[in-house]
Symmetry: C2
Subunit: 104 residues, 2 copies
DNA sequence: TTGATACGCAGGTAAATACCTGCATGTCAA
DNA sequence: TTGACATGCAGGTATTTACCTGCGTATCAA
């Protein structure tokens, strides 16, 4: 998988906001997404392109419009394959850290 | 919380690798982490600084050494406050996407 | 003290990133 | 067909980022 693309895509506040917007209302057009964002349309296009490239957003053309949909799968996969590894060790690591900070 | 710092920190493969290394063996020194990374020590220092700034890594000095420990809390918080929102809607979103791709 | 070790700090460069403006293309509705 | 609308494409700039080299400081062991 393209873990790197997904993480890089999530590393920008504008793009996380875009995902938030799509979470509230899935299938929005570029224009609709722009209205909230105080940024030139072309910039939003770029951000959406990066999200699409990371498979976090899928698009469908409908006439002259382009609808944007969240694809939650990569996010889930990132969580499953990457975050949970740390989760599993969470309490252990916290214990070690606490010990160390207390001078062992 | 500084969601942005956490995501930005995770947006670099070298830094994710550093977390991986610390996950395998917590409490490593800068020197030990460098050995695996084919990169100048100073570069690794910068990456570790970013991780530390995002609270993903905590450090403890021991003599002339500096030990690095994973702090899994921000990762967990990011998951709780951000990823789960999408998880909750995952099946719904997938259903909508499928419908749309099939021409509704 | 002295040499070796472990790290910190101050820059400097090349590439990536996040914006933008300007113009072109395609689609709808009258 | 024509004007308004929705988006695409080309490129340009300013900032951020990732990497480096060079040198300084602190610690340990002999």
């Amino acid at each position: 998988m393209h873990t790197d693309k997904v993480f890089k895509a999530l590393g920008d506040p504008t793009r996380r906001k875009l995902l938030d917007l799509l979470c509230e209302k899935n299938g929005q057009t570029l224009g609709a997404l722009c209205e909230t964002l105080d940024m030139a349309r072309q910039s939003v296009t770029q951000h959406l392109g990066i999200l699409e490239d990371a498979d976090l957003v899928s698009t469908v053309r409908r006439g002259r419009e382009k609808l944007h949909f969240i694809n939650p799968v990569p996010l889930h996969e990132v969580y499953e394959r990457w975050v949970r590894k740390f989760e599993r060790q969470r309490l252990t690591l916290l214990y070690e850290l606490k010990k160390e900070l207390e001078g062992e």
